[in-house]
């Protein structure tokens, strides 16, 4: 039994490291996207070329990027996990180019929400909702992905409402209770995007193990 157990433990060890690596990657992607997108949101108030540019990059509160990073790591690990539990591996467009396209569209949605002048909030929210669903349809098309996206988006919206209600931060012109009405759409698109990245990363799991075995 001992002889047979060794490789198994080895695999387990690899699996945990692999999980950690994936988590770290997803976390950093989440932090990076949070910083960039936050910058997009606050950009209009930034004056031209202030000398303390670095501070304006971290213009949001310190806890926002880590939160986003953690959330994205969780989502990115959750998606492949759910896929394997449901026994229906995600087969639709499993390529890095498609993932990149997805990320680009997600940034574009954020861009639109921050920069494009809409006539009213309803129009803005509807457009973003359509874009988000389009994102899902273009890059995901799995029921589990949709369900998870919607539920996480709702949860995140609720959390944001609570945060704003407790005065942690606030929006300049809230139109949906305390927050902006496009926030759920952004959350949904973000969940889909991170899920996509996570699934793609999960494909690589075996590769790490192979490299490990080759090193021996």
């Amino acid at each position: 039994a001992g002889k047979g157990g060794e490789p198994l433990i080895y695999i387990m060890y690899n699996r945990t490291t692999n999980l950690l690596i994936r988590g770290a990657l997803l976390f950093s992607v989440g932090v990076f996207l949070a910083l960039v997108l936050n910058l997009l949101q606050v950009q209009r108030n930034v004056t031209l070329f202030p000398p303390d540019v670095i501070s304006s990059i971290f213009s949001s509160a310190w806890w926002v990027p880590p939160c986003c990073g953690t959330a994205s790591a969780m989502i990115g690990l959750l998606y492949p996990c759910i896929d394997s539990h449901l026994g229906e591996p995600h087969k639709f467009k499993r390529e890095w180019s498609s993932v990149m396209r997805c990320v680009a569209v997600f940034v574009g949605i954020n861009h639109a929400s921050a920069k494009v002048d809409f006539a009213n909030n309803v129009q803005l929210s509807l457009t973003l909702a359509a874009l988000s669903v389009g994102l899902w349809w273009t890059f995901d098309r799995s029921r589990s992905g949709f369900g998870l996206g919607v539920s996480i988006a709702l949860l995140a919206t609720l959390a944001t409402q609570l945060l704003v209600y407790n005065g942690v931060f606030q929006y300049t012109s809230p139109d949906f209770l305390y927050i902006r009405s496009w926030l759920p759409c952004i959350f949904f698109a973000g969940v889909i995007t991170m899920g996509n990245i996570g699934r793609q990363l999960a494909l690589y799991e075996y590769k790490f193990i192979q490299e490990k075995t080759h090193q021996d």
């Binding site: 202030p50 026994g87 390529e95 890095w96 680009a104 639109a112 920069k115 075996y206 193990i209 490299e211």
Partner: protein, 1241 residues
């Protein structure tokens, strides 16, 4: 539906024709496309260049009035931003000051100390100037500085007029700002040889008051008259600033571009199997980019001016348009059959993908149209661009990219031809083209060891290309040379451009000797004419030439002070002036132009005022000339200034400077070298993944999904593995077992043959089973009957069987040294001697047949004719007598020859009742009526499980029966033989554990079982030395509810899978059930377990489960097949499964994710084997195929025989010496894979 089909057909036909067109006339089409791209991009020339540089507009001062807010149509010249009042008016006072006459007693600090001191008095003058209004009312009142700029409080004004003038303590960052002229023109330095100091005082006004400014100008001019000043003062310049892009705004932009490039990278990486990957990738990118440019150009042409920020939406446009179509086209074209003409390949590839391309385009257009109806202007504009871009992209794909692709494919075919020719020259027989063509009957096969598979490195077509690049770099030492040349150029530039360097020296030399070199008149920069002589050439070589004929025509184009620098530099040397000359030139007129264009925005940003999308008006400068006497300079001198001896300072400083230059050069050269090395290293890493030798990282994920395996063109040519056929069985082979050295096979006729796995020689034949105990001889009597001789025709076997001559007696078999005791039945009539041997056609299982020879065959439609005829043909010598004619022979043999196969794994339950009956029937009668259902081979022992439930142990070499165990009555469906234990699974679901004991003394009871067989008294067996016994140690009665279908043993475990959907794991030592693994929803059909305790199981539900044998937990569970999983094999990294759906799936072992799948032909066998980590072998219809597991590529197909139609390979064993044994009808086939053999060694 029909409409759709029609449409589809039409589109496909149109694409086909178009592909033919493109491939036929590539050059004209590319020219046409380029022309249309250029035409469409032509309107772009009228668009302003993107950028954030300020825009200027000049008006006269005299009739200036603040422009109104309303746009005025008639003023065509006036830009549209010139509306409303400016943010501020800038009035600069340009001061040039010098101490004159210059006294040799003065130190260098005196050059600027007292002239700068004058600034304060001038400042006071300006501040206190009053003309109907005071300055306070006109100037721009500023409040606090921007927070974070506290350190500038001392130099920048706060809470008052914005009036900037140089102070004495100036930091480097603010110097330009305060002086108002670029630093090197100020003259404030220790090496100012001209001894003139220039600075400005900048006055920012919020209102324009002509009278006030006029009086100020007059006052200053009166106080400090400028003698030879001819500056124009009738123009004011309005400068409009675009929207600023700060770093903060740049980050998202940069991010989108990074994502864009990643997208392009990952997309173009998929381009494969073409001649020039980079070329096609470039073509793809060009297609997308030029389609975007065309879209913008077309939109502009039709009067739609883009208002969006082009740089921002560009990445999104690229992503929306996408590179997918291009890639799909490429893939489709390269996967067409290679032997077609290029034209046809292109046309076929196009028409294959036509429908999906059109569908995608329609979908995208629909989405964009929906976006258009959001009625948001920005989105509408985006959508408009995207639509035009999509259409033009489609156009370019169809014309430009397709044509480029056709050229590429043509090039590749040529290259391929060249590459293959020498390879084929080395082969003895020229092989006919593509893979699929069936090979000619294999030649007599000189020796199997000369056959080689190509090594993986050469199999991969992409690898050599990468290696070639690196080899090229290495061979030409490109990196070193580039670094060397770069460093040399760098040093040259540095030396040449350094202020204290060679250029100044040269310029000074030349200007000294040049007749026109005297710049005293002003405005003649000497290096203008001289510099071109030296530039680009070796400066030292021109040193020697006589400077007199140096180019004299000095152009009069001293435009906006670009050459002002030269004036400060080279001039002073020429006339060593005792009186510093203050000159005013045209370049002083708009000195602010020499400042950075960020000068004004940054000045205003300090007070939190943005200039973005606004403009300022710059008024003509007021020139002020100040002459100071040496006394004044000495009076303002700081006490410490004189402490340094004046003459030494410049010299030492110059030395230091040259030293510094040297260091700078060295450091920069080093840095450049390191950078280049790093760059090349990165390039190398990008081009060559680390482990290209072992496992292609980039190709590992390639999915071969729907591609038929053989249509994939560039597989290596058919190499010449030819199988070794082992003939001997005359009916289909049922069981196959091997332990690496020996190979045992059992056919439907019940004959067991033992072969040498290395050479393929037949060692032993255990003929049709029929054992009777003979009390008289005390030996096993071979109840051969009249059919004792089998397979006489196959003389290639060394076989132990008695050849045709042994018919009349049994002496021969002994004489040949085979200890098999045979006794032919005396009842055999001699008249049968010349009859063909029809032994194998006789099935002796009479269990469910009345033992009547006249009975008709129970299976209708089975044609015995062929079999008998073959046997007849092989029989030699043919009998001259005619009476055993084939027709009579076909009716004469016992017709019980129902070709009953071993119950197939899936549906053995159907056999249950039947076999129960059969075993019941056999009980009373002789045991030769049962057939072998399972066989295992270990060492020298063959364990055979029979349908009657008996377990027999045969000596493989001697061909003698060593022991028999008849404890069970239910048929043995599966056997596992590990160490000295045998596990037998029975049809009734019970599992029996036997122990084999060797070296027992002779007298021990050997046959425990079969007490009911009283007819045959126990007698000691003939044996060579040892007595082998086989004892039932434990019988698990109800191991499974239903028949056990699979049994595997490894690593001290026995795993049994059954029809009852469960898998059970037993420990071999104590036959204790460890786990019952549940998870399948169908009967178990395949199990794999190896020494590393990996357990995989596949079931009738198409699911594959991976289990942890230590804990009994399920690791993963995947659905891969429609229908049964027929075979499972694991390597260290992946699981390979085949199913009834003719699909071979390769799964990642740790994640359970499907890596790729291979669709085989219908009816391909289900047998699988893994030869090495990366070589998979599958059985097919009359052939075995070798696959590269890393790439999923078909390496080779080996055909087993000529007449192989309809004969599938059902069983396949991989031996330790990398040979493969597979059954092929009645023959066995031994295939060597020599290259793997080498690898294993």
């Amino acid at each position: 539906m029909t409409l759709r089909e029609q449409l589809r057909e039409k589109i496909s036909a149109a694409f086909y024709r178009h592909g033919l067109l493109c491939a036929s006339y590539p050059v004209p089409i590319i020219l046409f496309t380029s022309a249309s791209i250029l035409t469409c991009c032509y309107p772009l020339l009228r668009l302003p260049l993107p950028g954030t540089g300020p825009v200027e507009f000049t008006t006269g001062v005299r009739d200036y009035s603040v422009p109104s807010h309303e746009p005025q149509g008639d003023l065509g010249e006036r830009p549209d931003w010139y509306r409303g009042p400016p943010v501020a008016y800038i009035q600069q006072v340009l001061v040039k000051a010098a101490v004159s006459p210059w006294d040799s007693s003065l130190v260098t600090v005196d050059v600027f100390r007292s002239p700068l001191g004058r600034a304060f008095s001038l400042l006071e003058e300006i501040r206190n100037h009053v003309h109907s209004d005071s300055l306070e009312t006109l100037c721009l009142q500023v409040t606090d500085l921007f927070p974070g700029l506290r350190r500038m409080q001392s130099v920048l004004p706060e809470h008052g007029c914005l009036l900037v003038s140089p102070g004495l303590h100036t930091s480097a960052t603010l110097r330009d700002l305060l002086f108002g002229v670029p630093g090197k023109y100020t003259g404030v330095s220790h090496y100012n040889k001209k001894k003139v100091v220039t600075y400005t005082m900048t006055l920012v006004l919020s209102r324009y008051d002509a009278r006030f400014l006029g009086s100020l100008r007059a006052r200053l001019k009166q106080l400090h008259p400028s003698a030879n000043c001819s500056l124009r003062d009738d123009h004011m310049v309005h400068v409009h600033f675009k929207e600023e892009i700060g770093i903060a705004e740049l980050i998202p932009l940069v991010t989108t571009y990074i994502i864009l490039f990643a997208y392009i990278y990952f997309s173009t990486r998929k381009i494969d199997m073409v001649k020039s990957k980079w070329g096609l990738a470039l073509a793809a990118v060009v297609t997308v980019l030029s389609s975007l440019l065309m879209s913008v150009g077309l939109c502009t042409l039709f009067g739609l001016t883009p208002t969006l920020n082009g740089g921002e939406i560009f990445p999104y446009l690229v992503v929306v348009i996408g590179l997918e179509n291009v890639l799909v086209l490429t893939k489709s074209v390269v996967s067409t059959p290679v032997d077609l003409e290029v034209k046809l390949r292109i046309a076929q590839g196009l028409s294959n993908e036509s429908w999906s391309i059109m569908k995608n385009m329609a979908t995208e257009l629909c989405i964009i149209l929906i976006g258009y109806f959001t009625l948001v202007p920005a989105i509408q504009e985006f959508c408009l661009f995207a639509v035009v871009g999509l259409v033009s992209d489609f156009f370019l794909q169809m014309f430009f990219f397709t044509t480029v692709l056709s050229i590429d494919i043509r090039r590749m075919e040529l290259a391929d031809l060249n590459r293959r020719l020498p390879a084929e020259a080395g082969l003895p027989p020229p092989k006919p083209g593509p893979l699929r063509t069936r090979e000619a009957p294999p030649p007599p096969r000189p020796s199997p060891h000369t056959i080689t598979l190509q090594t993986p490195a050469f199999r991969n077509l992409r690898l050599p290309k990468r290696l070639r690049v690196v080899y090229f770099l290495a061979r030409t030492r490109l990196a070193q040379r580039i670094i060397m040349v770069g460093t040399v150029i760098w040093i040259g530039i540095l030396v040449y451009t350094d202020p204290a360097g060679i250029r100044t020296y040269l310029a000074a030399q030349v200007s000294d000797q040049s007749p026109l070199g005297d710049p005293g008149g002003g405005g003649l920069p000497p290096h203008l004419g001289v510099a071109p002589v030296f530039r680009g050439g070796d400066p030292t070589s021109t040193l020697g030439i006589n400077p007199a004929p140096a180019p004299t025509p000095i152009p009069d184009n001293q435009s906006q002070g670009h050459h002002g620098s030269s004036r400060v530099g080279p001039l002073p040397e020429a006339p060593p002036p005792s009186v510093p000359q203050i000159t005013w030139g045209a370049e002083d007129e708009e000195g602010w132009r020499r400042l950075s264009f960020r000068h004004w925005p940054s000045l205003f940003s300090y007070y939190n005022i943005t200039l973005a999308k606004r403009y300022i008006s710059i008024l003509p400068v007021i020139p002020v000339t100040v002459h100071l006497s040496p006394q004044e300079a000495i009076e303002t001198r700081h006490p410490q200034d004189t402490k340094h001896p004046p003459p030494s300072i410049p010299k030492v400083a110059a030395d230091i400077q040259t030293d510094l230059t040297l260091y700078k050069v060295a450091a920069l050269g080093l840095a450049a070298g390191v950078l280049l090395v790093l760059l090349l290293f990165c390039l190398y890493r990008v081009l060559c993944p680390r482990n290209y030798g072992q496992n292609g990282v980039t190709h590992g994920r390639r999915r071969r999904g729907d591609l038929p395996c053989d249509d994939y063109g560039y597989s290596p040519p058919v190499s010449e593995i030819s199988p070794l056929l082992l003939r001997g069985h005359s009916m289909d082979i049922e069981c196959l077992a091997s332990d690496g050295m020996l190979l045992a096979s059992c056919c439907l006729a019940g004959q067991i043959r033992v072969w040498d796995a290395q050479t393929g020689d037949c060692l032993t034949v255990i003929p049709n089973h029929g054992l009777r105990r003979s009390s008289s001889s005390g030996c096993w009597e071979q109840r051969d009957g009249w059919e004792s001789v089998s397979g006489a025709a196959e003389t290639e076997c060394l076989g132990s069987e008695a050849h045709g001559s042994s018919i009349s007696g049994d002496g021969l078999s002994e004489g040949e040294g085979y200890p098999l005791r045979r006794r032919t039945a005396p009842s055999r009539p001699t008249l049968f001697t010349d009859q063909p041997d029809l032994t194998p056609l006789i099935d002796t299982n009479f269990a469910d047949q009345p033992p009547s020879h006249l009975c008709t065959p129970p299976r209708e439609g089975f044609d015995f004719g062929g079999l008998v005829e073959r046997a007849y043909m092989e029989h030699e010598p043919p009998s001259p007598s005619a009476y055993p004619s084939p027709s009579s022979a076909s009716s004469s043999p016992p017709s019980g020859a129902q070709l009953q196969r071993r119950p197939s794994l899936g549906d053995s339950s159907a056999f249950l009742t039947q076999d129960r009956a059969s075993t019941a029937g056999t009980q009373a009668t002789a045991d030769w009526e049962s057939s072998v259902w399972a066989m295992e081979l270990r060492g020298n022992l063959i364990a055979a499980g029979r349908s009657s439930g008996k377990l027999e142990l045969w000596d493989a070499v001697e061909g003698s029966l060593r022991c028999i165990n008849e404890d069970g009555v239910s048929g043995i469906t599966a056997l596992a033989f590990l160490n000295n234990r045998i596990v037998a699974a029975r049809l009734n679901g019970s599992l029996d554990f036997f122990t084999v004991e060797i070296n027992k003394p002779l007298g021990l009871l050997q046959y425990r079982g079969a007490p009911g067989r009283g007819s045959m008294p126990p007698s000691p067996c003939y044996s060579s030395e040892d007595v082998i016994s086989c004892q039932l140690t434990r019988s698990v009665q109800c191991a499974h509810q239903k028949p056990i279908t699979v049994l595997r043993a490894a690593a001290g475990r026995v795993v049994a899978g059954s029809q009852d959907h469960t898998v059970r794991v037993y420990r071999l030592e104590d036959s204790c059930c460890l786990f019952t693994l549940q998870g399948h929803s169908g009967g178990i059909t395949a199990i794999y377990i190896d020494q590393t305790m990996v357990l995989a199981s596949g079931g009738q539900d198409g699911a594959i489960c991976l289990w942890d044998v230590l804990t009994g937990s399920r690791v993963s569970h995947v659905y891969g097949h429609r229908g049964d999983v027929t075979s499972l094999v694991c390597t260290t990294s992946c699981v390979i499964s085949s199913g009834l759906d003719d699909l071979i799936c390769i799964w990642d072992r740790s994640t359970g994710i499907k890596l790729y799948s291979i669709q085989q032909e219908v009816g391909c066998g289900a047998s699988l084997g893994v030869i090495s980590e990366s070589l998979l072998v599958t059985g097919g219809q009359g052939c075995v195929s070798f696959w590269d597991l890393n790439f999923g590529d078909l390496l080779q197909t080996v055909y087993l025989g000529q007449s192989s139609d309809g004969q599938g390979v059902r069983q396949l064993l991989v031996l330790d010496n990398a040979a493969i044994i597979c059954d092929f009808g009645s023959e066995l086939s031994l295939v060597y894979v020599p290259s793997v053999l080498e690898k294993l060694d």
